[in-house]
């Protein structure tokens, strides 16, 4: 049976919640599936992003370059296309992160520190399972 793509369990209170709260709930559910090191990294990203300016296009390029660098060091057949290819998708998320919180009216940088951190943490954890990314203090 394929995994469910629904956000909240059927019949739960979630269906009556506003979309922005269900978004926060989805982010929490994502965090629950991370291991301890992943959770720590995710929290770090959230704190960093809530303090800093929203991500810029340069952050997207830096992230894809990090992926290219890590990919090349792990796989001999890694092509720069692999990391750079998701640049378009990341750019769209970055755009949402840049203005989405004001638009949605969230008070906790939900998109900047939540969605962007989620995407970034997912890429780091799935592509670098040993958490070779330095943990910044």
């Amino acid at each position: 049976m394929p995994p469910s793509t629904s956000l909240v369990p059927s019949g739960a209170l979630g269906h009556n919640l506003p979309a922005e709260l269900r978004l926060a709930q989805a982010i929490s559910e994502f965090a629950l599936n991370l291991d301890d090191a992943g959770k720590q990294r995710f929290q770090q990203l959230q704190v960093q992003l809530s303090r800093a300016s929203p991500p810029s296009p340069a952050d997207v390029i830096a992230l894809t370059e990090d992926l290219n660098r890590e990919g090349a060091s792990r796989h001999a057949s890694w092509r720069p296309a692999a990391g750079t290819r998701i640049g378009g998708f990341l750019r769209r998320i970055q755009q949402f992160a840049a203005f989405g919180d004001i638009f949605i009216g969230g008070s906790q940088n939900l998109i900047a520190s939540g969605v962007w951190a989620t995407v970034r943490a997912m890429l780091e954890v799935t592509l670098c399972p040993c958490h070779i990314y330095p943990v910044e203090s």
Partner: protein, 391 residues
Amino acid sequence: MRLTTSWTITQEFVQHFPGSKELQTYLAEYLIRVVCLCRQILLYSKRSPAVLLATSLFSSFEAEFLPLQQELDQWGLLIEKKFASLTTKTVLDAQTDISKGNRRLSRLILSNLKHQALLKEQALLESQQRLLSSLSPNQEAFETIFRRERKRGNCSWLLTNPDYKAWRSAKSSLLFVTGHLGSGKTVGLANIAADLTRKTGGCAFFFCKQDDEHTLTRGNIIGSIIHQLVYNNLGSCHWDVLEDGCRLPVGPFTVNAALRLLPTLLPRDRGYFIVMDGLEDCPPRERAETAQTLLDLHSTFSISLCISKRSDSVTFRTIADSFANAHSVSLNDETRDSEMQDYIKTEVQRRNLLRSQPFGADVVSHIVEQLDIGAQGMYVKLHLPALVSSY
């Protein structure tokens, strides 16, 4: 990765319809699917090799993620359609002169409901977004050119070149990347732009393409460069000059207006990098005006400029004369040639391994030799798939 390519609306709708509850919900729903997708990928990656093998036998990766991708597409389409309908409605309202009243009403409601600080922040964000989108309406297309070139390959020899390193560490300096037609200047500059972004936190780049007239005008080139300079330093710009949007003209924001605003907007106490490729492909007048504007920026800010060139035209001599500190890297370099040979060898060996009946070492060596001769030092003349099929 086909995600988010099925619809085209970007941040513009926020500027036009900040009070649309439906759009807010659609955006949130879309992002919920993005987070769900991340979660699903995470769970997929945590499966044991045995489960992954079993999954791959009975279902494909595409099939597993298809439902979520379809949901993403649907929400994207909904956003697009809602945006189109709101735009039409606004046009119709404007014709009957109702639009103004509605806007005032919605702003009144907003001001009563939301905190003043939030409104101020929203106004500033609107000004920022209006400035950025007016400066470079085609910015996404220009960034796509960069990504396309970056995907073509790595230039590790160029990034370790002493002249390049010296240029990167010096302030307000010039780097010429020279090479004949098809020698890989564009891919080299895409690598430089990526390297600078990673190591220095951001650079402004532009890639002119002979077959795309939008990339050959001074307005688009300079607009895109200013757009990036501002966007990469959004947090440190002096936005008070835009307070209440009074300094922004009502219509489209011209590049000349942006150039006048830039000295007060952008901090002057830091260095900026600009990477400019293919300026020679622009018509002479556009080329000369673009070069002059770059030099004007150089006189105001601490700008390090990296530029590719084939010839030694008057434009480049003018630029070279304006920089006290100039470096040059030639792509007709022995190190670069050996990197190209290594690249051919690696690619042929990789593709050979994928064959059901791999060629012997002598055949591979012969193929590499012939490809090297045929390429004549130009990546564009290298046609690997035609010689060694990767099936």
